[in-house]
């Protein structure tokens, strides 16, 4: 899922300062699952904003609206009846959703209420960790299911670097060293000799380095 973090409240309040009629958007997809921007978090943020502004003597009207998805036109278009009644929209969807809503309603500003952070998994209840950077050329077959691009702080392909100690990364003692995990996995699968293969340089053009990416399925186009 795409994992996000709610922005600090002061930052949100500052962005909303000029407005008194606000559309607060949520999304039923990833940000709901990571407990950042689903209907529940939307209601909590709305309540917080109302309390703060009421206290400041600048009450606001907030419409809470959580879309099934913010990254699909059919859902984004469903905002049409509501959005014009509000001065501004602020969204708890991921960065994709925030931009996409903005593209559909060009006379409105769509402000971010969250910081979109990574593609990750729920490692345990309340804890999310990163697994993928969407580099566009997966090597998980070579590294037996552990991504060096994402999980090594230096994204090195022939690790571990000299800083791997006790299974942990030198950058953060809580983070497992990706290359320790890879070596452990080679051993587990009786494939340690694979470690001796020098992994070639990565072609980063499939990653963000090649510019914004696009995928087209001609057969699905209308």
């Amino acid at each position: 899922m795409i994992v996000a973090n709610r922005k600090p409240f002061e930052e949100i309040i500052e962005m909303l300062k000029p407005y008194s009629k606000i559309l607060l958007l949520g999304c039923n997809e990833c940000v709901t699952v990571c407990a950042t921007g689903g209907a529940k978090e939307v209601s909590v943020l709305a309540s917080e904003i109302r309390l703060f502004r009421q206290k400041e003597g600048q009450p606001v009207e907030i419409k809470e609206l959580t879309l099934e998805r913010n990254c699909d036109t059919e859902y984004v278009e469903s905002l049409k009846p509501a959005i014009n009644d509000y001065e501004v929209a602020i969204s708890m969807a991921c960065g994709c959703g925030i931009q996409f809503v903005g593209e559909h309603y060009r006379d409105k500003l769509v402000l971010p209420a969250v910081d979109t952070t990574f593609y990750g998994v729920a490692e345990e209840q309340g804890v999310w960790t990163e697994r993928c950077q969407g580099c566009g050329a997966c090597v998980l077959d070579k590294t037996l299911g552990i991504c060096p691009v994402t999980r090594c702080a230096k994204s090195i392909f022939n690790g571990p670097c000299g800083g791997s100690q006790g299974g942990k990364c030198e950058v953060n003692k809580e983070t497992p060293c990706a290359w320790q995990l890879i070596v452990d996995r080679y051993k587990e699968m009786n494939m340690l000799e694979k470690y001796l293969e020098i992994q070639p340089m990565k072609n980063w053009s499939t990653s963000r380095d090649g510019g914004p990416r696009k995928r087209v399925r001609e057969d699905l186009k209308l």
Partner: protein, 307 residues
């Protein structure tokens, strides 16, 4: 093929090599480099010039290498993958070679979070293994990474680093074998304090025959103070400082600590000299360059061979 490297000549002659290092200053004053260099002159075969070590912005390793080269040194320019993409890396290799820098040490580089610019974007377009391959290919095949022809090949003696004390220990010798296969001709190791563990690592290195494919220089660092030993033990990733060393430093009067530090260092040199496959030492006297001459003399490694 031979490069113009003095280090390469010394190693090929079979002599026990001695290198040291010089960290460029956090400023544009060349005198700082010259002053550090003056302490080392005549006592070493080549001098490493660090590349923004610990991710702190400093004078470039290329500029430092050139200042030392002009003083008559054989510089080993260090190059990290943290700050350059493959275009800048190849450009700097050509630049260094054109100015007569004959040795390059290929490193991944410390993570930027350790330095003074933790908010920097890191590059790591390629890693140290792939950097070794790049230099070798440019030199031996006359090819850029792209496959285009290099007109005027960089004649460079290729070095790398390895940490025998990093984890997982069991692949540390294999990793050096990979670096030798990639094209590294010499390695300078992380500081050796735990000689027993280093011996074990060397045994694994010899089992893989790596000592016959590359020259191995053991990293040596004298303890300057108890605080420094503790700092390296606790705060420097991948350092293995035995408790007994700290106890020894504690057991002597305060004014004798530095002396004891040098004594430990000399004992370590004596032991590593006798390990089969060790071709030299690399002395990293951190902010203590003035002690290098004393260490080299006391270790019986002076005068240096003239080849």
């Amino acid at each position: 093929m031979s490069t113009g490297s003095n280090l390469e000549k010394v190693l090929k002659s079979g002599a026990f090599a001695v290198t040291s290092e010089c960290g460029p200053p956090r400023g544009a004053d060349p005198e700082v480099v010259k002053k550090k260099g003056a302490f080392l002159k005549g006592y070493i075969d080549a001098v490493n010039v660090t590349d923004n070590q610990t991710s702190v912005a400093r004078m470039s390793s290329l500029a430092g290498s050139l200042i030392l080269k002009n003083m008559g040194f054989d510089p080993v320019m260090q190059m990290v993958c943290r700050d350059r993409n493959r275009i800048a890396i190849q450009s700097d290799i050509l630049g260094a070679a054109s100015l007569g820098v004959n040795n390059l040490l290929c490193l991944s580089g410390d993570h930027q979070s350790f330095g003074d610019h933790p908010g920097a974007k890191n590059v790591f377009d390629i890693d140290s293994m792939q950097l070794i391959q790049t230099v070798k290919r440019m030199r031996d095949e006359g090819k850029f990474i792209s496959g285009d022809e290099v007109k005027g090949r960089p004649n460079i003696f290729i070095g790398c680093a390895e940490n025998p004390f990093g984890d997982p220990f069991e692949i540390r010798a294999m990793r050096l074998a990979k670096k030798a296969a990639a094209g590294a001709e010499f390695v300078q190791t992380q500081c050796v304090f735990n000689v027993d563990k280093f011996e074990k690592w060397m045994e694994m290195v010899r089992d893989l025959g790596v000592h016959e494919k590359m020259y191995i220089l053991a990293g040596i660092t004298p303890y300057k103070s108890i605080g420094m030993a503790n700092y390296m033990k606790k705060s420097v990733p991948g350092m293995d400082v035995p408790d007994e060393h700290i106890e020894r430093l504690r057991s002597v009067p305060k004014e004798k600590v530095a002396e004891e530090g040098i004594a430990i260092c000399l004992e370590i040199i004596e032991r590593v000299k006798n390990i089969k496959g060790v071709a030299g030492i690399h002395i990293m006297a951190i902010e203590w360059e003035e002690k290098v001459a004393e260490i080299v003399k006391a270790a019986g490694l002076f005068p240096r061979p003239e080849i």
